[in-house]
C-alpha cells in the first residue's frame, strides 16, 4: 500500500471514528442491559407472566380481551392485538386515536383464563429510558435516523480499521500484545487484536442496527406501494361502521395460512393496516420463521379474506436484521456471549479514543512515519 493510500485510510479511520465514538459508547452501554431486557423486567416485576396451564388447556377468544380493554378505557380505541412469543399471553394496545403515535395503554391477558394480568406502564421506568437512548435519543424518527447515520459512520470506521490492520501488523504475529512496551503501544495492540477478532460480529451488529433504523420509513414505503395496490378497490369508500369479530379475523387468517399462527393483528385505520381491513401478521414456529411475518388482509366489515402476500424484500430484511442485532434467538448462553462482545466493543472504542487523545498533539506526518516504519 502506498504512503498516500495509507494517509487517506488513516484519515478516514480517524475522522469516522471520532464522529461516532461517543454515540457508539452510548449505544454499547445502553445495549448491554437491553440484551437482558426480558430477564430484567421479570426480576424487577415490570413483566407479569401468566400462570402455568395444563397442556392443551382451552384458550379464550381474542374478542373477550378486546371487550375488557374497551371497558377499562372507554374513551380510547383498540389499535392492535398481539400474541406473546414465549408465553400464553396476549397484548391489547389502546390509543386516543387510530393514528396516535404512542399507545395510552397496553394490557396483558392470560390466554387461558382471559384475566388482565398486567397494565404495562407506558413511557416510564429505567428500561424505557435506556431503550429510548438506544433507539431514538428521545427525538422520535429524526433521532432514529441520526442513529442510522452513526451506524454508517461506524461501518466506514470498521472498514478503514480492517484496511489499516495489515500495515500495523505486518511485522507482528497475530494476537501480539507488547506488554513490555509503552502504554500507547500496548493499547494499540489491544485495539488491533480486539477489533480484528470481533470484526465480523461488529460488522453484523452495525449493519443490522442501521437497517433497523429504517423500519418506519420502509413501513411507509410498503403502505404507499404494495399495500395501496392491495386495497385500491376500497379507495374512497367510507370506513366500516361496525367491525366484525377480531377472533374471526384471526381464525380466517389461520385457515388461509395453515402452517403459521397469529403474531399481531392491526386494527383498521392504524399504522399497520388500512381503514377497511384487519391486518393479521402470521409467524411460523421455527427460530427463523417465527421472525418472518406474512400479512393476511381481512375485510373488517364482512370478516372475509381479502388478500395475503409475502412481505417485500426490504421488510423481510428488517425482520431478519432484528434477531441478528438483538442476539435473542439462541437462549441465555447466546445473550451472555452477546454481552461479552458488547464489552469488547466498549474496550475497542475506549482504546481508540485513548490512542487519539495520546497522539492528538502529534502531526500526521509522524503517524505516517510510524506506519512506514512498520511497513518497511
Amino acid at each position: 500500500m502506498s504512503t498516500k493510500s495509507l494517509k487517506v485510510w488513516y484519515r478516514v479511520h480517524k475522522w469516522t471514528s471520532l464522529v461516532c465514538t461517543l454515540f457508539l459508547l452510548l449505544l454499547c452501554l445502553t445495549g448491554l442491559p437491553l440484551i437482558f431486557e426480558d430477564e430484567i423486567n421479570v426480576w424487577t416485576g415490570a413483566t407479569v407472566e401468566p400462570n402455568e396451564a395444563a397442556p392443551g388447556a382451552p384458550v379464550v377468544s381474542i374478542d373477550r380481551f378486546i371487550e375488557d380493554a374497551r371497558r377499562r378505557l372507554p374513551d380510547d380505541t383498540v389499535t392492535f392485538v398481539s400474541r406473546d412469543r414465549d408465553s400464553p399471553a396476549w397484548f391489547v394496545g389502546m390509543a386516543k386515536t387510530m393514528t396516535a403515535p404512542e399507545p395510552t395503554a397496553v394490557f396483558k391477558y392470560d390466554a387461558h383464563t382471559g384475566t388482565m394480568i398486567h397494565d404495562i406502564p407506558q413511557r416510564q421506568g429505567l428500561m424505557f429510558t435506556i431503550r429510548a437512548l438506544h433507539v431514538d435519543l428521545f427525538a422520535g424518527l429524526p433521532g432514529t435516523l441520526f442513529i442510522g447515520a452513526v451506524g454508517l459512520c461506524f461501518l466506514a470506521s470498521m472498514v478503514s480499521g480492517i484496511v489499516l490492520y495489515a500495515p500495523f501488523m505486518r511485522k507482528l504475529n497475530f494476537g501480539t500484545v507488547r506488554a513490555a512496551k509503552a502504554p500507547r503501544a500496548r493499547w494499540l495492540d489491544l485495539h488491533n487484536l480486539l477489533g480484528i477478532a470481533t470484526a465480523a460480529w461488529l460488522l453484523v451488529v452495525a449493519v443490522t442496527g442501521t437497517i433497523n433504523t429504517l423500519t418506519l420509513p420502509l413501513l411507509g414505503l410498503w403502505q404507499g406501494t404494495e399495500l395501496a395496490d392491495m386495497t385500491k378497490a376500497w379507495r374512497g369508500q367510507p370506513p366500516p361502521s361496525t367491525l366484525s369479530s377480531a377472533q374471526r379475523a384471526a381464525e380466517t387468517a389461520r385457515v388461509a395460512v395453515p402452517d403459521m399462527d397469529v403474531a399481531f393483528l392491526g386494527f383498521p385505520g392504524g399504522l399497520f393496516s388500512t381503514p377497511h381491513h384487519y391486518m393479521v401478521f402470521m409467524r411460523g414456529d421455527t427460530t427463523l420463521t417465527s421472525r418472518l411475518l406474512k400479512p393476511v388482509m381481512i375485510d373488517a366489515e364482512t370478516g372475509a379474506l381479502t388478500d395475503s402476500r409475502t412481505l417485500p424484500w426490504y421488510l423481510t430484511a428488517i425482520l431478519l436484521a432484528q434477531p441478528l442485532h438483538f442476539g435473542d434467538y439462541g437462549g441465555m448462553p447466546l445473550k451472555i456471549i452477546w454481552a461479552l462482545f458488547d464489552l469488547v466493543a466498549i474496550v475497542v472504542l475506549g482504546s481508540g479514543l485513548y490512542l487519539w487523545l495520546a497522539r492528538r498533539r502529534t502531526p500526521i506526518e509522524s503517524h505516517i512515519a510510524e506506519i512506514e516504519r512498520l511497513t518497511s
Binding site: Y165, A166, M169, R170, N173, F174, G175, T176, V177, R178, A179, D189, L190, L193, L194, I196, A197, T198, A199, A200, W201, V204, T286, T287, L288, P323, L324, Y329, G330, G331, P333, L334, I337, L340, F341, V344
Partner: protein, 54 residues
C-alpha cells in the same frame, strides 16, 4: 505468504463468527445452538489467550 500470515486468523475467526450467528438462527435442533455458542465464543477465547500470553 505475508497475506496468509496476516489474514489467516482474522479470517478463521470471521468464518466461525458468521457460522455461529447463522447456526442458532437456521438450525432446528439444540445441537445447532451448542455449535453457535461454541463458535461464537472462539473469538472471545482467542482474545483471552492472547492477553494472557502477553
Amino acid at each position: 505468504m505475508t497475506a496468509v500470515r496476516l489474514w489467516k486468523w482474522p479470517l478463521v475467526l470471521a468464518v466461525l463468527t458468521v457460522f455461529g450467528l447463522l447456526a442458532a438462527l437456521l438450525g432446528q435442533d439444540a445441537i445447532w445452538w451448542v455449535a453457535s455458542w461454541a463458535t461464537l465464543a472462539a473469538p472471545l477465547a482467542v482474545i483471552v489467550l492472547c492477553v494472557l500470553r502477553s
